[in-house]
């Protein structure tokens, strides 16, 4: 029996009058990569934000290693957030800092004062995401793919147990997308992290997923392996996987 790292139970969230999550439940197995599929605006990113307490649910539970974090204060959440790294959709890099300073930020904040150690760890992490040589650049001078790589470097420089990826390949060309997918896989192999990848990119899904969940109408509509997803005859799943809409031409 595989250990559950994060267990989400009956999560309900409403934004304005729209109910985004309607009893969303899903287990995240330790060491695996879970890909969460769903249509744009369907609540995938909202779900991700709940996992590190950036949003509070109306009801439901989020158990991280068996501890319910939904009622944690901002200060209590800090311990949880040290275990979970997040790569935001647009990177969310600190635009007043260089690439080096962005990646060094978590190290400095966790008390590392030795500049030689900081420089070595930042260099190693940037090498891991193929960003060596860009240390002095400012985020505004980076392409979308580079920003995501730096954001990933910032998330893993102080190695987390879980990495959350919010649309890691959105807006990127197929080659850069492929390199990001390989990077996600490499992170899992080299750092043995648990990953949750929110996407609607099927190529990315097949590349990185150990398990797949499909979010539909605020609930988990499908949960299984990529093989089970491919073989499913369910029309909702097939429409999403094959990219079919009901619109007439």
């Amino acid at each position: 029996m595989s250990a559950v790292m994060i267990d989400v139970r009956d999560l309900v969230q409403r934004i304005g009058t729209q109910e985004i999550l309607r009893g969303f439940s899903i287990p995240v197995i330790k060491g695996e990569t879970l890909v969460l599929l769903g249509r744009s605006g369907g609540g995938k990113s909202v779900f991700l934000r709940h996992l590190i307490g950036l949003m509070k649910p109306i009801s439901g539970q989020i158990l991280v290693e068996g501890v319910d974090i939904t009622h944690f204060t901002e200060r209590q959440l800090e311990a949880v957030r040290r275990k979970i790294g997040m790569v935001f959709q647009d990177g969310a890099l600190f635009d007043s800092m260089s690439v080096f300073e962005n990646v060094a930020f978590p190290l400095r904040e966790r008390g590392e004062r030795n500049e030689a150690v900081i420089a070595r760890k930042v260099d190693e992490t940037l090498a891991l995401v193929n960003m060596t040589g860009h240390e002095k650049k400012m985020p505004v001078n980076l392409s979308g793919g580079m920003r995501k790589r730096v954001a990933l470097a910032r998330a893993i420089v102080s190695p987390p147990e879980v990495i959350l990826y919010d649309e890691p390949t959105a807006g990127l060309d197929p080659i850069v997308s492929d390199s990001i997918n390989r990077l996600i896989r490499r992170m899992q192999r080299q750092l043995a992290v648990t990953s949750i990848v929110v996407t609607h990119d099927m190529v990315s899904c097949y590349h990185v997923a150990d398990r797949v969940a499909l979010l539909n109408a605020g609930r988990v509509y499908f949960y299984g392996t990529t093989e089970e997803l491919k073989q499913s005859e369910d029309p909702v799943i097939r429409d999403f996987v094959d990219g079919r809409s009901d619109e007439a031409e």
Partner: protein, 264 residues
């Protein structure tokens, strides 16, 4: 009934706003007492807020002192009271003009920059990124700005007062022909340390108002660039008006402890 409910809604929104500003101030104080102070960031903010605001504060103080001296002289000359210009200008600069002008200039220059910077960080998810990295935004963003403001604004008030009085002296003695000895003697006679205390205390209070209003506006910005623009405008408007309103009440309150006039 509609009028009453509208008044109730405005009052409720005002109380909610005060609650948010007060809550932010409370969190900041608790962070400071818990020792969550990043001294490097405090120094950087002092450089930005204090050092960077000097020119605007000096020019404002000096030219206000100069023009106030000229106007006072024009009126007092009709009563042959030219030598009273010094104390009038110096007391006014210490008690009212120095702190208020500094407050308004800082609200405009620093308050706008703070709310724009924090607002941009908010709408581009940089504040969420801070939180995701287990860094409390109040510790990282608000505490350094609050401490820097508390250190810088009273010093800027002192600077504004000094340059206002210097300009007043130069205009009165070199341009308008008031005797230097009379000017200085009367200024010393009627200006007291309590006048300077009052100005500096006001500077502290204005610093608190400006930093928490500006940070609150920035941290609550939403709706992209338009929201950042709105937050910046509101930070300047609310900050400036609060300085002016608070100044009246501070004057009335502080006058109990530091009464105007000769202390004897």
């Amino acid at each position: 009934m509609n009028v009453l409910s509208a008044i109730a809604a405005v009052f409720s929104a005002f109380c909610a706003y005060l609650g948010q500003v007060g809550g932010l101030a409370g969190e900041t104080v608790s962070s400071v007492f818990a020792g969550r102070i990043r001294f490097g960031l405090v120094l950087r903010q002092i450089s930005h807020i204090g050092f960077g605001s000097q020119m605007v504060v000096i020019v404002t103080g000096a030219f206000t002192g100069a023009v106030f001296t000229a106007q006072t002289y024009f009126q007092f000359a009709r009563l042959n009271m030219e030598s009273a210009v010094g104390p009038v200008v110096s007391v006014a600069m210490c008690r009212e003009l120095g702190p208020v002008l500094t407050g308004l200039m800082v609200a405009g220059r620093v308050g706008a920059a703070m709310s724009a910077e924090l607002g941009t960080m908010k709408v581009t998810q940089q504040i969420d990124a801070l939180r995701a990295l287990a860094v409390h935004p109040v510790d990282y963003l608000v505490v350094p700005r609050a401490l820097a403001m508390l250190i810088s604004v009273p010093l800027l008030v002192g600077e504004c007062i000094f340059f206002g009085m210097l300009a007043a002296y130069l205009v009165a003695t070199k341009v308008l022909g008031v005797g230097s000895a009379y000017y200085m003697m009367n200024m010393y006679k009627f200006t007291d340390a309590k006048d300077i205390y009052m100005g500096v205390i006001k500077g502290f209070v204005f610093a608190i108002i400006i930093v928490f209003v500006s940070c609150r506006e920035g941290l609550h910005a939403r709706d992209g660039a338009v929201g950042v623009g709105r937050a910046t405008t509101e930070a300047v408007v609310i900050g400036s008006l609060s300085v002016l309103i608070a100044n009246f009440f501070l004057t009335m309150f502080l006058n109990i402890f530091f009464p105007a006039g000769i202390s004897g």
